[in-house]
């Protein structure tokens, strides 16, 4: 039955679920989607995707992950692996829409309007990210959310390494200025593995 979770899958570790999924067990993979779907969708939204677009790309990413599940060796976490796939798929989509080309020049542009936050406010990450330009947001999210190195991000974005480093640096500066001090960040968030 679609969507049903067999209890034994719910109790298994991600790596074990991947092993089942590699044998074609779709319910095991469904459990992985249940665990990490929100994380992947959240990452894409933080990269600047609209919610519906993020959902589309996340679905494609999970389907691609299922196709390539045998390539997952368990060296990192499954969540990190599928997030990388999702981030690359999203970039490919941006490239098709010719939105990536603008990223190379955005470093020289003026900062976007201030999101209204300051370092004393209890801003969460999502709010703080709104203060970044599209290029900065994508670069920071790829490096700190999807776990790509600067070099990998530069290759994925088809941008010079220096440009990516510049976007990341400027993005970090803005985030540092806007994020509340550690411990004050809005609570009630729950990790999903």
């Amino acid at each position: 039955m679609v969507g049903s979770t067999i209890p034994r899958f719910a109790s298994l570790h991600d790596v074990e679920l991947c092993t089942y999924a590699a044998t074609g067990e779709r319910r095991a993979f469904g459990e992985l989607v249940r665990r990490h779907g929100s994380g992947v969708r959240g990452l894409l939204r933080r990269m600047g995707a609209a919610p519906s677009e993020a959902d589309d790309v996340a679905q494609d990413a999970f389907l691609a992950a299922f196709e390539r599940i045998a390539e997952f060796r368990g060296e990192g976490t499954f969540a990190a692996w599928v997030k990388r796939i999702a981030a690359r798929l999203y970039l490919r989509r941006l490239q098709k829409e010719r939105k990536l080309a603008a990223f190379a020049t955005q470093a020289m542009e003026a900062d976007p309007p201030d999101a209204g936050g300051d370092s004393d406010a209890s801003l969460d990450l999502d709010e703080a990210l709104k203060a970044l330009s599209a290029a900065e947001r994508v670069c920071v999210t790829m490096c700190f959310g999807a776990g790509l190195s600067h070099t990998e991000a530069a290759e994925a974005l088809n941008l010079p390494l220096g440009t990516v480093k510049s976007h990341v640096k400027r993005g970090l500066e803005k985030l540092r200025a806007r994020l509340a001090p550690e411990g004050v960040v809005s609570e009630g968030r729950r990790g999903n593995g």
Binding site: V2, R26, G30, S38, G39, L63, D124, L125, L172, G191
Partner: protein, 125 residues
């Protein structure tokens, strides 16, 4: 050092994604697409197998395979007779050349191998 701490904090914040309210519906959507994809793939593989089998069979018929088998059998018998004259004790050759059975078996194996190869290629696609 402070910079490194901030970067680690940022990584934690990124990893700490909120659970979206429609997480279950999203997972069900992915499972549905997976199921649809597998059904479509099974149909595709089945259809390709049938098409491949029909093409293979028609090719066999069109290429006068039966005449060729007969002539191959004749050639095998002639070859056997020749070899028997040269080396009367070469028993293994007579086993090989008995009629057109070898050709039939080889043809069947070739078709099976082609079927496997075709299936594998489609799965890879």
């Amino acid at each position: 050092m402070a910079e490194l701490d901030f970067e680690r904090r940022l990584e934690r914040l990124f990893a700490d994604a909120p659970e979206l309210p429609d997480a279950t519906a999203f997972a069900e959507g992915v499972e549905r697409r997976l199921a649809t994809g597998w059904t479509a793939r099974r149909w595709l593989i089945g259809a390709a197998g049938i098409a491949g089998g029909l093409i293979g069979a028609s090719q066999l018929i069109m290429s006068n395979i039966f005449q060729r088998v007969e002539s191959a059998g004749d050639s095998a018998r002639a070859l056997q007779a020749g070899i028997v004259q040269v080396a009367p004790k070469a028993e293994w050759v007579s086993g090989f050349a008995s009629g057109g059975v070898v050709v039939w078996v080889a043809s069947a194996l070739a078709i099976v191998a082609m079927g496997f190869a075709l299936t594998r290629v489609i799965e890879e696609l």
